[in-house]
């Protein structure tokens, strides 16, 4: 396991028993894993590890972000990520407000920029955005002074998912460097896959991806990953298997002919799991299609860490909110 983070006096006030300094992460926004260095990722994960304990307390609340306002702006449906962010902010005592596309002025024809400028005028400290268009958080970050956190943009990135995935891997495997991680599914349309490929390569993991060629984007090899068209080779000796959700509506785009065939040739079942390392762990960013990309025996089996991922999601998001808008900041 990682060495515990350094202790500093001031953080005791924030309700932490392990000290961490916000100044080591001097960023306005978190837009993607592409921007983060190995040291920054390690620092976020260390911070998240320290924050996990808060969620185990009877009173799950610390005053760290008291007086701060976090807007959760979800332009696309989400249960897990949205709830996770809300809980993270609330456990840090931030005031939170949650907006979805259907409750915002977007349905009245207001542009994204106008909506967010209006939100900005109410002086929030951070805007957490989920949007169906790749680059939407970048558009915001250019327009507003508040911190922008990308909670998933189109088919581009989902950085907090990659961070919680890596926290989970590091916790169980003790390290990320050299870890053999296999990602299976529709890589083209997966922001989870992109953020994980980038971040895992930054951290020195060995990444394999598998899917039918219809689901692999051009020049995928430039991520420094090994590419497979069938899952078998990719699973050989894998330490971590990450199954991606198959969106059944992609059938219309001729990416695959049907759920049954996909389950049979790409789904993770006990037999395929035998190809992996004996202590392999199975991950899924959710929501799952049971019986399609993952069989129920595997999803609920002893190798599955899917619910640990969800637990770690709260810790990672607490850490990010703290690092981005908490405490004093060096200019």
């Amino acid at each position: 396991m990682q060495a515990p983070p350094r202790l500093k006096g001031r953080e005791v006030f924030f309700g932490l028993d392990k000290g961490l300094k916000a100044v080591e992460f001097n960023r306005k926004d978190l837009l993607g894993m592409e921007d983060l260095s190995r040291e920054e990722i390690t620092h976020i994960l260390d911070t998240a590890e320290a924050f996990k304990e808060i969620s185990e307390r009877e009173i799950k609340k610390v005053p760290t972000l008291r007086g701060k306002t976090v807007v959760h702006f979800f332009y696309e449906p989400s249960t897990r990520t949205r709830t996770s962010f809300e809980i993270a902010a609330k456990r840090l005592s931030a005031d939170t407000i949650s907006l979805s596309a259907s409750t915002s002025s977007l349905v009245k024809g207001e542009t994204l920029i106008d909506t967010v400028r209006n939100l900005e005028a109410m002086k929030p400290d951070a805007i957490v955005i989920r949007h169906s268009s790749s680059g939407a958080p970048h558009l915001l970050s250019q327009q507003i002074k508040s911190t922008v956190i990308n909670a998933g943009d189109g088919t581009h990135e989902h950085p907090t998912q990659a961070l919680l995935d890596m926290l989970t891997m590091r916790e169980i495997k003790g390290k990320l460097e050299g870890l053999r991680v296999t990602i299976i599914g529709d890589i083209t349309h997966s922001r989870v896959a992109r953020s994980n490929m980038i971040a895992l390569r930054t951290m020195g993991a060995e990444v394999r991806v598998a899917g039918p060629p219809t689901m692999l984007p051009p020049q995928l090899e430039e991520y420094g990953v090994e590419i497979f068209h069938r899952p078998e080779g990719a699973l050989e000796g894998a330490d971590v298997i990450m199954m991606l959700r198959i969106q059944l509506e992609r059938m219309k785009q001729h990416l695959f002919p049907g759920a049954r065939e996909y389950a049979r040739y790409y789904g993770l079942n006990p037999k395929r799991l035998e190809l992996c390392a004996p202590d392999a762990i199975v991950m899924h960013p959710g929501p799952m299609n049971r019986g399609v990309e993952i069989s129920p025996e595997v999803a609920d089996g002893p190798y599955s860490v899917i619910l640990d991922q969800v637990t770690n999601g709260v810790a990672v998001r607490m850490a990010l909110l703290y690092l981005l808008i908490g405490g004093e900041r060096d200019t």
Partner: protein, 429 residues
């Protein structure tokens, strides 16, 4: 009314001329060109335009612009679009038919010409739609359109998907000498795309438009033209493969001409990084290899014209999420220095540059202009090759501010633009 454009270096590729000349203009027409200091017979009341140190060329012609009138006058209109043309050194533009409503009938074509007479400052040549409403299924009345003043037909922005319809378009339009200007693209293959497909689209998580979508379209349209025994002009070529296809078609003797736009030889897809919608257009910006091939194609004669595909949009269409933003950028006020850059880079001679931007477009469209031969209308552009300036969209005459060249320092500028002997733009004292 007599004018002398004095002491300029005249570059008139159609007459193989590149030398110092005084240009004598009478009643809006070029009377003669004489060596500087020669007896002109012009004395009383003659206006003298001092052009020493400048290049005098036949007025530039942009064979591919969107003036947005009628229907989207908030983006651009004939007054502002032609003012932008004049500012960029253009004396004539060909206006694409994707207005609202589409220019698919005589009254629309006449409306555009009337508005030009009332509000325009440069010549406007309407290009009519290939099919009614540009829907791709029913031919327009080309005879009537030609009579009304249309100079070509085009499916710009909405390619005709049906090959049988396209064949008939090509066969029927040639009767009226209406050149078919093709936006060549396989719409199925590029559907949903927002940028070039490749490394960068993968990285940015944007849907890509593969080069193959353009190249299949170019190949298809050229083959259909061969079948129809009709001439064809391919618009806005952006890929190395398209350049190769046109080169091969020309080598086999087909009557094919082609244009490209300054952004395709000035920028790569990297201009999109940061989700910059001002670098979003169709066809999209491509890679270094494509840029090199397009430059080569301009140099070796494969590509015949530089046209801007001037596509003004307002912030309403552009200050939005990248995948929702409109395609297109403005080009009239930046085309000249960007093309002159290829002279400095050694791809083009000055004479070839003027052929690409004036003589060839005139010849391809079968319109007047493109030369300074005595007797023709005095459409003249004076260029300072060395003038350095910074692109600032806020200073554009165009209503469109959507340029990926904002802040770029460029070299070369139209110092004066003259249409039919009338000065429509001047930066000279």
């Amino acid at each position: 009314m007599r004018i002398i454009v004095k002491g300029g270096r005249v570059v008139d590729p159609a007459n193989g001329l590149d030398d110092l000349r005084d240009i004598l203009i009478e009643d809006g027409r070029i009377l003669d060109m004489v060596t500087p200091g020669a007896e002109t017979g012009f004395y009383d009341g003659v206006e003298i335009i001092e052009a020493s140190g400048l290049i005098a060329v036949p007025g530039l012609i942009d064979m591919h612009v969107h003036l947005r009138e009628p229907g989207e006058e908030y983006k651009e209109n004939i007054a502002t679009g032609t003012a932008a043309a004049a500012a960029g050194g253009f004396t004539a533009v060909a206006a694409m038919p994707n207005t609202i409503p589409v220019n698919d009938n005589r009254s629309l074509t006449e409306y555009i010409l009337n508005q030009t007479r009332l509000t325009g400052v440069v010549r406007v040549y309407p290009v009519a739609a290939m099919t009614m409403g540009s829907r791709g299924d029913e031919l327009c009345q080309y005879g009537e359109l030609a009579d009304a003043g249309a100079v070509a037909v085009s499916d710009d922005g909405r390619p005709v998907p049906n090959t049988e319809v396209m064949r008939r378009v090509l066969e029927y339009s040639k009767v009226y000498n209406l050149l078919a200007i093709c936006h060549s693209e396989d719409l199925d293959l590029s559907a949903g795309g927002a940028m070039n497909e490749g490394t960068l689209s993968t990285r940015l998580g944007l849907n890509g438009m593969p080069v193959t979508a353009e190249e299949l379209g170019v190949y298809r349209d050229i083959q259909l033209a061969a079948l129809a025994e009709a001439p064809i002009h391919i618009a806005h070529i952006s890929t190395a493969g398209s350049v190769a296809i046109v080169r091969q078609a020309k080598a086999s003797g087909l009557p094919v001409t082609a244009e490209t736009a300054p952004h395709y030889f000035s920028l790569t897809e990297e201009a999109v990084i940061g989700y910059r919608t001002e670098a979003k257009m169709n066809p999209p910006l491509r890679t270094r290899k494509d840029v090199d091939s397009v430059r080569q194609g301009l140099a070796d004669g494969t590509l015949d014209a530089v046209a801007t595909d001037h596509a003004p949009h307002s912030e309403i269409e552009k200050d939005v999420e990248f995948d929702r933003a409109a395609f297109g950028i403005v080009g009239l006020e930046t085309a000249l220095p960007l093309t002159l850059d290829l002279v400095r880079r050694g791809y083009l001679s000055l004479s070839r540059t003027i052929a690409l931007m004036s003589a060839n477009p005139a010849k391809i469209l079968g319109i007047p202009g493109g030369t300074l031969t005595p007797g023709v209308a005095a459409d003249i552009t004076l260029i300072d090759l060395e003038a350095k300036w910074v692109v600032e969209a806020i200073k554009f005459k165009s209503l469109g501010r959507n340029t990926p060249f904002e802040g770029h320092t460029v070299r070369g500028r139209a110092e004066l633009t003259m249409v039919g002997g009338k000065i429509v733009q001047s930066r000279l004292n």
